[in-house]
Amino acid sequence: MSISNPLPLALVPGDSFIHNVSPGPKMILVVGYVILAFSTQNIIILYSMAAIAFIFAIWAGILKTFLKGLLILLPIGSSLLALQILAPAVEKPWTAAAELGPVTLYIDGLYYGFVLLGRIFASLAIALVMLMTTHPSDMFTTFTKLRVPYTLNFMQAMTLQLIPVFQREVGIILSAQKSRGMKGSGFSAVLPSFIPVFVGAIERVQQLSISLESRGFGSTGHKTSYRKVKGKWSDTAIAVCSIVIMATLAVMSITRGSWNLSDQITFSANFVLGLFLLVAGTFLTIVTVTIAFMFRK
């Protein structure tokens, strides 16, 4: 029986320009994105980075799966912004925007909230583009070239592969429990069902490690690779351009205080109130739906 991968983490096959860029430059781009995102507090740069990742996603024709992957931002983003409005991560005194029953909403933390969100948004977006356009084996080969320890690299590759398998196992186990009349109420009822998942995982790993060992996994000598990653001049160009542009932006962001736009950008009290209602509502909806889904009959 074939296994479909409902998780938006795996390769979306394609033959676009983005797909054909070697894993090396893509990894440089991802690492560069993360470094730049966490160096700058300039929301224009941050959201432009995210926008560029979106353009890549559209170019590669993976927009649908890409957006699915970004859904994870909804709970993270909404809780993050709500938190910054309720309890800003900046020095007091804070400026109140509105009173909402017992809670006070503040304006001051919001810029920083958008910066944090932008950092996560940009990094996640580019990482998804890379994961969805790079064959895992090519990534594996490149990591090996970069001298990432073989075992570590192998574990990372395996984990990605096993996710759909474990999802299927969880499904079977839950149906076995339901067939025995399990009442799905409270985590305490559901949690024990995961014992079989863990036991299954351990047995699988043991069996696999014996199987791999029997195929020379432990060998210390020179290892070769079935897949070859071909370097192209365009790859070098992309790598060099990414490094130069992102390094410049990072250095400028750190050295020039004026690039931090927190003083220039202010939010109106009404905007803060409206945004809070929106994000708090979103967050609560997600939590409710998730719980309802977990305990549905």
Partner: protein, 292 residues
């Protein structure tokens, strides 16, 4: 609404009634069942055979409501599964999964045997009695306080079966009860089947193990490419060489021998060595007499 359907459960209804059931997996357009009709009376013991992917598992999952038909109806003891949750169906029907590791999770074998009965609201006294019976029958005395994962695989498989049997459902589905078993534990399963027959439990046994089926079932459903293509006694199914070939199945060795020896000269289609031995010995006797 659901209660009305429960009331509809009556003594005269067949155990399993499937009418024009189709099933298509949601995540694609994979058709797993197309137009299946099946009626199983209370107390019948049936086997379902067919290659992997023929639709066997999908069909049995329709029985206990784990899957609901995309179209058509599945009625169990007079109850339409469409209106019931799997947990509600557990009152009627027990499902023994192929891999006990998918099923067991309690801290001890004892807890494991009690889990199902508790879920369906059986009284503690009754549970005690059923667990004691199961321990006796499956020979689990020595492991009763062990963790289910500390016992050997064949015993674990028996625990998985026992954990359903203690629920005393009127219908039990077995998915490959004899895989990974040695001869010893397979015997326990054979005995279980005859015990269930005496109790009047309806049994559905999905298996590739032809000798097991030859021993215990009265009726074999053959599936191929999402359809039921034959529904007959094990004798008739095993004797149908074309059918066996088409489904890539193999009759028990003794049946093969009978088909090439006694059957062409009017013998019965033997399912067990003893049966064929009787037939052959009877054919030799009269001649021995005339010879003397």
């Amino acid at each position: 609404m659901a209660d009305e359907h429960f009331n509809a459960a009556d003594a005269d209804a067949p155990a399993i009634l499937v009418e024009q059931a189709h099933y298509t997996y949601a995540n694609g357009n994979v058709v797993a069942l197309s137009g299946v009709d099946l009626r199983v009376e209370k107390g019948e013991i049936i086997g379902i055979i067919g290659q992997n992917g023929s639709g066997k598992t999908t069909l049995t999952k329709l029985f206990n409501g784990l899957l609901k038909p995309s179209s058509g109806t599945v009625v169990i003891n007079g109850v339409n599964t469409a209106t019931q949750s799997v947990q509600q169906m557990a009152q009627h029907i027990g499902y023994v999964f192929q891999n006990p590791n998918h099923q067991l999770f309690a801290r001890t074998v004892d807890d494991e045997l009690r889990f199902g009965p508790r879920n369906i609201g059986m009284s503690e006294d009754e549970i005690d009695q059923r667990v004691a019976e199961a321990v006796e029958f499956f020979g689990l005395h020595s492991v009763i306080d062990e963790h289910p994962y500390r016992v050997s695989f064949p015993i674990r498989k028996l625990v998985g079966i026992a954990s359903i049997v203690t629920m005393r459902p009127s219908i039990i589905i077995f998915d490959e009860p004899s895989t990974g078993q040695d001869h010893d534990t397979t015997k326990v399963i054979n005995n279980l089947m005859s015990g269930l027959r005496e109790q009047g439990t309806t049994v559905v046994c999905v298996s590739h193990d032809m000798p097991l089926l030859a021993d215990v079932v009265e009726r074999v459903i053959v599936m191929k490419d999402t359809k039921i293509i034959a529904d007959a006694s094990p004798r008739d199914v095993f004797a149908d060489a074309a059918l066996m070939q088409r489904t890539n199945l193999m009759a028990p060795q003794v049946t093969e021998i009978a088909l090439q020896t006694t059957v062409p000269i009017g013998g019965t289609i033997a399912l067990t060595p003893a049966e064929l031995a009787d037939d052959i010995a009877n054919r030799l006797k009269p001649r021995a007499k005339t010879g003397s």
